[in-house]
Symmetry: C2
Subunit: 458 residues, 2 copies
């Protein structure tokens, strides 16, 4: 058995865990990061598609207001480039495809007006949420009792408008409107700023990309941490008490036990996965109950690779949304130089669930059929195809992140960040700013590091 | 390391796991049952309160229509006795306590009429649910999209009626109406027969009790299985393939590894706990997603023990319901002879969550205060008090059982019983008849045993 001693154990080498370790290193506190996968980056991962070109199978965009990650990208010597957005977008519904400029498809004016009013109302409601502790705002309890679907059916009448709201929910939460509490949607929007910030490319959270892929952020952070990041090490149990913690893990390559002793531990996993570790003594009921309630979204991220971005010649920017599905949203995801041409297509929510357990070639067929419908016959025969079904990945079990069903924020939200003795919680879900985003992950890691070092001083 | 070989491994020695093992034994198939606790019985457990008297801290009632368990009780040489029901019941709301005879409190006639209409409507809706596969009934999708709370607010207007529906949901699911999908409520009712069957004592699922306590059912089944039930053995990982399974467990007393090789495994745990085992290869996304969505209810079962059942002298049967809480429902739970007098008080849903992580003496104070309000000053000073906060128990993490939030039945219900290769699923939640009840647990174990032996023949 390998035994390790350190000051702080960090579980998970995604952006949250690595940010925690980086903050701890800056504060002069020793930390060891344990990661079950054979790589760092968590829900960000680069995939080489030949000729030195990389695409991302996980989180990839950054945008205005995401100050921590933008600064970190610079600090690590990385650069961003704008998401391709020149040309017209596509919107498909009931077999009809329209092209349009700007953010909103040119559907019928009644539906457009409804959507506009709904977005404004959502922003007004979201502005009332305290993202630090929505469960303390008794006046918001009614919003936690209904699903977003219930709200949509009460507030929007036209089928087109309802479909557009469904697409928005799928695009941001990788869930269906009936899965998510209205309060969760509002919390999440408030934690970013506005629903437009979440939905938009230019001026929003899909505005820019990282040259070389977002996994570089984690790879460079890990490199600067040296040998203190241990891969292929699956944490199984955390024994904890006032005097410290013992983290029992398994070296997945050698099938050997690893034991790490530390003063504190930061668990930087989505709540659904944090709940699957053993804890000795067991966690309080409210914390365990939170992990039973925070569900990971369902998304398959797919990319079709073409010799060139042929849609640009057709005056299209490569962005599309389809209410007919199963592909819900498409982006031009070509590398900075524009070669090869890459169409990024998402299967989200129910569509992702149906596809997650299929063989990859069947998913490819489903996706290419949608892309051909949207972008014409030149989309029919890509030279490459890659995808990742995040719900089938045992170390994520869903993306983009965890969401709350009805009732859960009020009954269990208080356990989201509350440390349990020597155990502290990080991860994008635990952030009150940009919850669920890479920005939120980084903030959460730094916050947890501050908690741990504050405890040290105290 | 201890290594064991058998034909079928069973995980969990509750009523489901033991029933599976018993069926397998009857079919001449060797099975070994692995149980993490130091006892059998799962969510049924006896507690001795002195003088040879036993009370149950878990599941305790049986009633008409629960044929399998009633027959099993007889087969095991056990007897039932009626739940005490002579005298008037109490209903408390807004500080006012009324006594009444029969099933329904004598609240204002408008509220009563509303509740009556609502129950009839619920039964009509439930009768449309196919409890074998509600996710296939497209016409029911709208019922899966809304919480029961949303339905109540649409269908009941008076505060009293809504409070009574909330009490009913708490009493049956140990959850709040906003936690549970309407379809889940309807499925559950359909799996039993009618909502009255779930709510009633006489003629319903609280009609009778088992002399000596329901844990005797599991104890006697285990005794007849001899040495094939292994306690203190926590299963951690199931490696599975077409040729069989390897179940890796930990002997919690000796801290030693136990490995069991078998042709098949029956996992007889609530889905929320089944999801916490490691599986190699990982489970399909839809099965894992189910375990992320099926939430364990929140209940603290408490009993106050008095020299005699003094309320009987006052013409009360000991049954009470309070909309004011935190105790929601009370029963006379005295042993067959009536001595000592025992009042059983439930903290359910939100009240249970608030109480689960408190020290026991604080819970006692909360409960006794409610009982004194309801039954007078003679309730103020019990000679004994016992309770169990099921959400704090790491091997149950909630009771009475798992429920579905909105959207989950349609997206993931298909994974509830569907075997994954050599892995079969049992547990009260997986039963299409009396889901969530001891009867359902027994049926589920027998069904899983049939699957396994059918596979053997095939």
């Amino acid at each position: 058995m390998t035994t390790i001693e350190t000051e702080v154990a960090v579980v998970g080498a995604g952006l949250a865990g690595l940010s925690a370790a980086r903050s701890l290193a800056a504060a002069g506190t020793d930390a060891v990061v344990l990661e079950a996968r054979d790589r760092v980056g968590g829900r960000t991962v680069n995939e080489a598609i030949g000729d030195g070109v990389v695409v991302e199978l996980g989180g990839q965009w950054v945008g205005p207001g995401q100050d921590r990650i933008l600064e970190l990208i610079g600090d690590l010597g990385l650069e961003t480039f704008p998401t391709y957005g020149t040309g017209r977008s596509l919107f498909e519904r009931k077999g009809k495809i329209r092209s349009y400029s700007g953010t909103i498809p040119r559907v019928n004016p009644v539906a457009l007006a409804e959507v506009g009013r709904a977005l404004a109302k959502i922003n007004r409601m979201a502005s009332r949420v305290d993202p630090e502790a929505p469960w303390k705002q008794d006046e918001l309890a009614a919003w936690d009792r209904i699903s977003f679907d219930t709200w949509v059916r009460r507030n929007l009448r036209t089928g087109t408008a309802r479909d557009m709201m469904r697409l928005a929910i799928e695009a941001v939460w990788a869930a269906e409107p009936e899965d998510v509490s209205l309060l969760h949607v509002l919390f999440y929007i408030r934690s970013a700023g506005s629903i437009e910030l979440l939905l938009d490319s230019e001026g929003g959270s899909q505005e820019a990309r990282v040259v070389g892929g977002t996994q570089l952020i984690s790879l460079r952070m890990a490199a600067s941490l040296g040998g203190s990041v241990r891969l292929n090490t699956a944490v199984r149990r955390i024994s904890h008490g006032p005097e410290g913690v013992t983290v029992a893990a398994e070296d997945l390559e050698r099938g050997a036990a690893v034991e790490l002793s530390a003063r504190k531990v930061i668990v930087a996993l989505p709540p659904a996965l944090a709940g699957r570790l053993d804890y000795d003594p067991p966690l309080p009921a409210v914390r365990d109950g939170l992990t039973q309630r925070m569900i990971q979204g369902s998304v398959v991220k797919t990319m079709a690779i073409y010799p060139e971005p042929f849609w640009r010649e057709d005056g299209l920017c490569g962005q599309a949304a389809s209410a007919d599905g199963p592909v819900s949203v498409v982006f031009d995801n070509s590398p900075p130089g524009g070669t090869p041409g890459v169409l990024l297509a998402f299967l989200e929510g129910a569509a992702a669930r149906r596809a997650a357990d299929l063989p990859q070639d069947q998913r490819r067929r489903i996706v290419i059929e949608c892309l051909t419908r949207l972008f014409g016959h030149r989309a029919a025969d890509p030279e490459g195809y890659v995808d990742k079904a995040w719900a089938a990945d045992e170390w994520s079990r869903g993306c983009y992140g965890g969401f709350m069903p009805t009732g859960a924020w009020f009954s269990h939200g208080s356990a989201l960040r509350q440390p349990v003795g020597s155990i502290h919680w990080a991860g994008a879900e635990t952030s009150s700013r940009w919850a669920g985003y890479m920005e939120g992950a980084i903030r959460s890691g730094r916050r947890a590091a501050t908690e741990v070092t504050a405890g040290q001083a105290g």
